[in-house]
C-alpha cells in the first residue's frame, strides 16, 4: 500500500478544482490596464512577392495606434531555430531567415504580413481590412518530392534549393546495410505517409506583453510549455533583451501537445510593440488563426525495407523519408525527423544493421515541428507496419515474429546510437495478451461476422526515448540548448514547502504528482507542498515540458534539491538533539536518533532553520532552501505493446474501434491514475491520427482543412473504453526515481495497431490489401475495398 498522498497513490489532481470550476488563470484571463489589441493580417496566398503593403488608410481608422509591417522588423533578429542538423556529407543544414512579419515574400497561407494595434480588438480587425496589399502570386510548392525537383519554385530565394538537409544515419553503416539486403532471404517493403496533423489544444495561443518605461523591464505572458526557453530565444536572438530585464510567465495553459514549445512571431511582436507604443499589447488567436499559424506535426513520406534471414530474424532495416519542414524552421523542427526519429528505428528489436535517410524539405505550408511523440510515432508506425506486412508475407504470426526478434538483454546498444538501459518486452506482450483477451478474438470475429461486420485485430510494440536529454550528447547532435532541468525547494519556517520547478504543467498534473514525491521523501502530507511553475521570475532557469521529460528530468532535479534539504535538516536535527549527524534518521516526518526514543518533528527543524536561536551558526547557514539542476546521463526508454480490435462496415468502409488495450512499462509510477489519464489522452490522439485527422492543402497551397468543418477531431463517441496496464515495471536505472515518462506513449503506440487491425479485417473478407494510408476514413477504406 502506498502512503496516502505519497509515491504510488492515485491522488486526485488538486489542479482540477480550479480547472473544473472555471477558476483557472489562463493567459487570455490576464488583462493589463491600458492594454491595446493586435490583429495580424495574414497572407491568403501560399507564395507571393510582397510588392507593396500600404497601411495609410488603416492607420487613419478609428482607434488605431499603429500598423506595423515587415519593414519595421528589418533591423530586428528573426525567429531563431534551436537545432542545427549536419547532413550526410558533413554540411550544416540550410537555414532560412524567419522574419517576425513577412518581408519581401509571403511563404504560406497564414504568414503574418502586417500587425494592427488598436484600442479594441474589433478596431484592429477593421483596420486590417483597410490595408492595401499588392502581392505578385508565385507558384507554390506543396508536395515534398516536387519541391526537390530541378526548377521547382524556391520557398527561399537565397537558399540553393528547397532541401533543408539530406541526413544519413548511421552513414558509416550504409554499405553494410546494403550488403545485408543483398544477402537477405526475404525483404519486405512498404511505402507510407505519416499524415500531417494540427495539434488543436483546447486553448488557442495568446500573448500579452508589457513594458515598464521607468525600469526598462518587460513582461510577457504567453501560452508556453517552457517560459525560460522563450525568454532566452526571444530575448537573446530576436529582441536583444537581457534575461534580467525580461520576465516570461506561462500561467495555466490549456494543453500544448508540443505546439506550445516553440517561440512564435506573435510573442516577439507583442513584446516589441509594447515598448514601441508604451502600452500593454495583447493578442488572442482565433481558432481559424490557430489552424494556419500553430506549428503542425508529422508529415513524413517514407519507404521502409526490412530484411530477414531464412529463420525470420531481422537482419537489416533501411528507410528513406521525406520530412516536411513547412515554410520556415520552427524552433525544434530539424531535430524531429532526425534525432527523435532515426535513433528510434531499432524499436524493440535486435536488428543489427540500420540505415535511415531523411530529406527535410521546405514547402509553402505552415512550419512543422514536434507534436505529441515527435518523431517517435513516425518511427514506430513505419517499423510496426512493415513487421506486420512481413509476418503476412511469411505466413507467420505477427506476435511470434516480434517476440522472436525482441531485445532481451540490457543494457542494449542499438545500431542507431542509443543505449536502452532496461526493459522487458516479453513481459509487456504477455500482459497485453492477457488484458486484451487475444485468445477470445476468434469468437468475437465470428460474432461480428454474424452481424455483417468485418473484424480485425492489430498488435504492435513501441519504444520511445523520453527524459530528454543529456546536454553534452545533444550538444554534439546540434542542439543549441542544454536539456537539464532545475528545481528550487523552499522550506518555510513552519514546515510547508514551496517547490519552484522549471518543468511546466499544461494538463499533466505536476502540481499533484510532484507534491507526492516530496511527501514520500520527507514523510509529510502532500498538502504541505505547493508546486509553482511557469514564471521566470521565481523559478530557476528551466527547460520546460515536452518529450515526456518532466518527472524523469524535472522530478529528478526536485529530488536532488530535496536531498540537499534533508541533509541540511539532518544537521539541524542533530544539533537540536545533541546527537551525531550520522545517527539521525528521517521517518514519517520526524528526525529520530537511531536506537533511542529521541526525536524532533519536521516543523521543529524548519522553525529552527529560520529562528536560529539554538542553531549551529558557526557551521551552518540559517534558512532551508536549496536549488538543484539535473542533467540526465541517458534518455529513458518506456516501451509497451498495444492491441486494437476494429469492426469495418463493408458497405460503407466505416471503421469503429471495438477494443483497445495498452500494456506499458513506464518504470516506477508516482500516480497511477494520472498515468492512466496520460495514456488515455495519448491513445485518443493516436486513434485521431489513425482514423480521423488530416491536414490537407490543395496544389496552390490553400489550407483545405482550416476549420472543424473539415479537420476531423476525435470525439468521445469515436473512442472505446480502454484496457490500460502499467504494472510491468523495469525501473529506469539512471534517474533517482526510476521513472521513464508516460505523456507521449499512447500517441506513439496506438496508430500502428489501428491500421494493422483494419488491414486484418479487410483481408479476412478476401481483400488483397496490404496498406491504407492514414487517416482510415470511411471513403479511403471503401476505396481500398473497390480495387
Amino acid at each position: 500500500m502506498p502512503r496516502d498522498g505519497g509515491i504510488g497513490a492515485s491522488t486526485k489532481r488538486r489542479e482540477d478544482i480550479r480547472f473544473l470550476t472555471g477558476n483557472g488563470n489562463y493567459t487570455d484571463d490576464i488583462n493589463l490596464r491600458g492594454q491595446a489589441y493586435v490583429h495580424f493580417l495574414r497572407s491568403d496566398v501560399a507564395h507571393g512577392r510582397l510588392r507593396k503593403v500600404d497601411a495609410s488608410a488603416a492607420e487613419a481608422m478609428p482607434g488605431v495606434l499603429r500598423v506595423f509591417t515587415g519593414e519595421d522588423f528589418v533591423e530586428i533578429g528573426g525567429i531563431p531555430c534551436g537545432w542545427q542538423v549536419t547532413d550526410r556529407f558533413g554540411e550544416v543544414m540550410q537555414e532560412p531567415k524567419h522574419p517576425v512579419l513577412a518581408h519581401g515574400k509571403v511563404r504560406h497561407v497564414g504568414d503574418p504580413i502586417a500587425a494592427v494595434v488598436a484600442e479594441t480588438r474589433a478596431q484592429a480587425r477593421d483596420a486590417a481590412e483597410a490595408i492595401v496589399l499588392d502581392i505578385e502570386e508565385l507558384p507554390a510548392v506543396v508536395d515534398m518530392k516536387a519541391a526537390l525537383e530541378d526548377g521547382a519554385p524556391k520557398v527561399h530565394d537565397d537558399l540553393t534549393s528547397n532541401l533543408c538537409y539530406d541526413w544519413g544515419f548511421v552513414e558509416e553503416n550504409k554499405a553494410a546495410v546494403d550488403e545485408a539486403f543483398g544477402k537477405a532471404a526475404h525483404v519486405t517493403t512498404l511505402e507510407l505517409v505519416n499524415n500531417r496533423l494540427i495539434a488543436n489544444p483546447m486553448e488557442p495561443r495568446v500573448a500579452v506583453a508589457d513594458y515598464n518605461r521607468s525600469t526598462g523591464d518587460y513582461t510577457l505572458y504567453t501560452t508556453s510549455q517552457n517560459p525560460h526557453v522563450i525568454r532566452l530565444l526571444m530575448g537573446a536572438f530576436v529582441l536583444g533583451i537581457p534575461e534580467h530585464k525580461l520576465r516570461v510567465v506561462a500561467p495555466d495553459v490549456g494543453g500544448g501537445f508540443g505546439s506550445k514549445i516553440f517561440h512564435y512571431a506573435e510573442e516577439a511582436f507583442c513584446t516589441f510593440a509594447a515598448k514601441a507604443l508604451n502600452r500593454p499589447v495583447k493578442w488572442t488567436s482565433s481558432r481559424s488563426e490557430a489552424f494556419m499559424s500553430d506549428a503542425h506535426g508529422r508529415d513524413h513520406v517514407t519507404r521502409i525495407e526490412l530484411a530477414l534471414d531464412a529463420d525470420n530474424n531481422f537482419t537489416a532495416l533501411r528507410t528513406e523519408t521525406h520530412a516536411n519542414m513547412g515554410a520556415y524552421l520552427s524552433t525544434f523542427a530539424p531535430s524531429i525527423p532526425t534525432w527523435l526519429h532515426g535513433t528510434l528505428m531499432a524499436g524493440n528489436y535486435k536488428t543489427p544493421l540500420i540505415y535511415v535517410n531523411v530529406r527535410a524539405v521546405f514547402t509553402n505550408t505552415v512550419p512543422v515541428d514536434a507534436y505529441r511523440g515527435a518523431g517517435r510515432p513516425e518511427a514506430t508506425y513505419q517499423l510496426e507496419r512493415v513487421i506486420d506486412k512481413a509476418a503476412r508475407e511469411l505466413g507467420v504470426d505477427p506476435i511470434a515474429l516480434r517476440r522472436q526478434n525482441f531485445i532481451t538483454e540490457f543494457p542494449y546498444a542499438t545500431p542507431v546510437a542509443v543505449e536502452y538501459d532496461t526493459g522487458d518486452y516479453h513481459a509487456t506482450m504477455d500482459k497485453l495478451e492477457e488484458i486484451a483477451d487475444l485468445a477470445g478474438f476468434a469468437a468475437r470475429r465470428k460474432e461480428s461476422e454474424a452481424r455483417g461486420r468485418l473484424r480485425g485485430l492489430g498488435v504492435n510494440c513501441y519504444i520511445e526515448a523520453c527524459g530528454i536529454a543529456p546536454s553534452n550528447l545533444v550538444g554534439q547532435l546540434g542542439a543549441r540548448a542544454g536539456l537539464y532541468e532545475s528545481a528550487t525547494v523552499r522550506v518555510n519556517a513552519t514546515g510547508g514547502i514551496t517547490v519552484m520547478t522549471g518543468s511546466h504543467s499544461h494538463g499533466q498534473g505536476h502540481e499533484t504528482s510532484f507534491a507526492q514525491v516530496i511527501s514520500e521523501m520527507i514523510g509529510i502530507d502532500a498538502d504541505q507542498v505547493e508546486i509553482v511553475h511557469g514564471d521566470t521570475a521565481n523559478s530557476p532557469m528551466g527547460m520546460g515540458t515536452y518529450g515526456s521529460r518532466s518527472l524523469a528530468v524535472g522530478g529528478s532535479a526536485m529530488v536532488r534539491a530535496t536531498e540537499k534539504i534533508i541533509n541540511k535538516a539532518r544537521k539541524i536535527a542533530a544539533h537540536l538533539m545533541e546527537a551525531a549527524e550520522g545517527d539521525i534518521e528521517l521517518k514519517d516526518g520526524r528526525f529520530a536518533v537511531a536506537g533511542t526514543d529521541k526525536s524532533v518533528a519536521w516543523g521543529d527543524v524548519t522553525l529552527a532553520a529560520y529562528v536560529p536561536h539554538n542553531y549551529p551558526l558557526a557551521d551552518l547557514e540559517p534558512g532551508l532552501e536549496e536549488t538543484a539542476f539535473y542533467d540526465p546521463s541517458n534518455f529513458t526508454y518506456p516501451a509497451g505493446a498495444y492491441a486494437c480490435e476494429v469492426e469495418v462496415d463493408p458497405d460503407t468502409g466505416r471503421v469503429t474501434i471495438e477494443r483497445f488495450a495498452a500494456a506499458d512499462d513506464f518504470g516506477n509510477v508516482v500516480n497511477p491514475m494520472i498515468v492512466s489519464g496520460q495514456v488515455h489522452g495519448g491513445i485518443g490522439q493516436g486513434i485521431g491520427q489513425a482514423l480521423l485527422e488530416a491536414c490537407a492543402y490543395d496544389e496552390q497551397g490553400q489550407l483545405l482543412t482550416g476549420s472543424y468543418m473539415d479537420y476531423a477531431m476525435p470525439r468521445a463517441g469515436d473512442l472505446p473504453f480502454y484496457q490500460v496496464d502499467h504494472s510491468c515495471q523495469t525501473p529506469c536505472t539512471h534517474n533517482p526515481l526510476g521513472v521513464k515518462g508516460c505523456g507521449e506513449a499512447g500517441a506513439i503506440g496506438s496508430p500502428p495497431s489501428v491500421v494493422n487491425a483494419v488491414v486484418d479485417a479487410l483481408r479476412s473478407a478476401g481483400h488483397d490489401i496490404t496498406h491504407i494510408d492514414m487517416p482510415l476514413s470511411p471513403s479511403r477504406v471503401w476505396q481500398a475495398m473497390q480495387s
Partner: protein
C-alpha cells in the same frame, strides 16, 4: 463580426415590417448565420431575430392528421414533440449537438438549404408543404439547388406541414469532421407511393431518387433496390469522399432506411 442593428419583433407582422428595411436579413436560430457573421463572411446592416415570434413556434396536428411544425420551432422541440412522426423526431434528435438543437430552427434550416442539412431530406421525402407569410409551397417546388430556395426576400417560413407516412426512416452517414450528412436518405412510404429524398450527395442539393421510389412503390423491401445505383457524376466530391463514394452510399443508406422504416 461587423457591427449591425438588430430588431427583436414579437409578432409576425412586426417581423415582416422590420424585414422591409433596407439590407435587413432574417435571423432564425443563427446556427449558420452567426458563424458566418463571426468569420466576417456576411455583413448585413440589420438583423431581424425571429426567436421572439411566438406564433411561428410549436407543433400541432393539422388537416388529415398532418404534423404541422412552426417555422421557428427548434430541433430539440421537434425531437421531443414530433412523436406522431417518429422518423422526423429521430432526424431532429440527431442534428448537430444539444446547443445546435436548442437554437437551430426548422425554418432557418430550410431557408438556408445547406446541401448537407438533414431537414431538406425530410421535407422533400415527405412531400411536405412549406407555408410562408405569402403562400404555400410544395416541397417539390421549394428547393432550387445548393443554398437556394424559391423563397423571396422578406418571406418568412411560418409552418411546415408533414403528411404522416405509414412508415419512414432517415439514415444519415456522417461526414467525419462536421458531422453533417455526407449522405442522408429519407424514405417515406405513403398509401400513394414511396418517396426517397437524398441530402449531402448532389451538387444540386437535396433531390428525389425517382428510380428507387418506383421500385420501392412496387415492393417496399431492401431487395427491391438491390443493384440499383446512381452515377457519381454531379455528386459532391471533396476531401471526405468522391462522387462515386457518395453515389454508392446513397444506395446503401436507402436500403438501410427501407429496412429500418417504422
Amino acid at each position: 463580426m461587423y457591427a449591425f442593428e438588430i430588431d427583436r419583433p414579437a409578432t409576425l407582422a412586426d417581423a415582416l415590417k422590420a424585414l422591409g428595411a433596407e439590407e435587413a436579413q432574417a435571423l432564425g436560430g443563427g446556427q449558420t448565420l452567426i458563424p458566418a457573421l463571426k468569420a466576417r463572411l456576411a455583413s448585413p446592416a440589420r438583423l431581424v431575430a425571429l426567436s421572439g415570434v411566438a406564433e411561428i413556434k410549436g407543433i400541432r396536428t393539422g388537416e388529415n392528421g398532418a404534423l404541422c411544425i412552426g417555422g421557428g420551432t427548434c430541433h430539440a422541440d421537434v425531437a421531443a414533440g414530433a412523436g406522431a412522426y417518429p422518423a422526423l423526431a429521430a432526424l431532429a434528435a440527431r442534428i448537430g449537438d444539444p446547443a445546435v438543437r436548442n437554437r437551430g430552427t426548422i425554418g432557418g434550416s430550410l431557408a438556408n438549404n445547406d446541401p448537407s442539412a438533414c431537414y431538406p431530406a425530410a421535407v422533400l421525402g415527405s412531400g411536405a408543404v412549406v407555408v410562408t407569410t405569402n403562400r404555400q409551397i410544395a416541397a417539390d417546388d421549394f428547393f432550387e439547388g445548393m443554398f437556394t430556395t424559391t423563397l423571396e426576400d422578406s418571406e418568412i417560413i411560418t409552418e411546415v406541414r408533414f403528411p404522416v407516412p405509414e412508415v419512414a426512416s432517415y439514415q444519415k452517414f456522417e461526414q467525419p469532421a462536421s458531422r453533417f450528412a455526407l449522405v442522408g436518405v429519407f424514405v417515406a412510404k405513403y398509401a400513394g407511393g414511396v418517396r426517397v429524398a437524398v441530402t449531402g450527395a448532389s451538387e444540386e442539393g437535396v433531390f428525389r431518387w425517382s428510380e428507387a421510389e418506383a421500385a420501392l412503390s412496387g415492393d417496399f423491401s431492401p431487395g427491391a433496390i438491390e443493384g440499383l445505383r446512381l452515377s457519381g457524376a454531379g455528386m459532391i466530391s471533396d476531401l471526405h469522399g468522391s462522387g462515386d463514394y457518395r453515389a454508392h452510399l446513397v444506395a446503401v443508406m436507402t436500403r438501410r432506411a427501407v429496412a429500418a422504416a417504422r
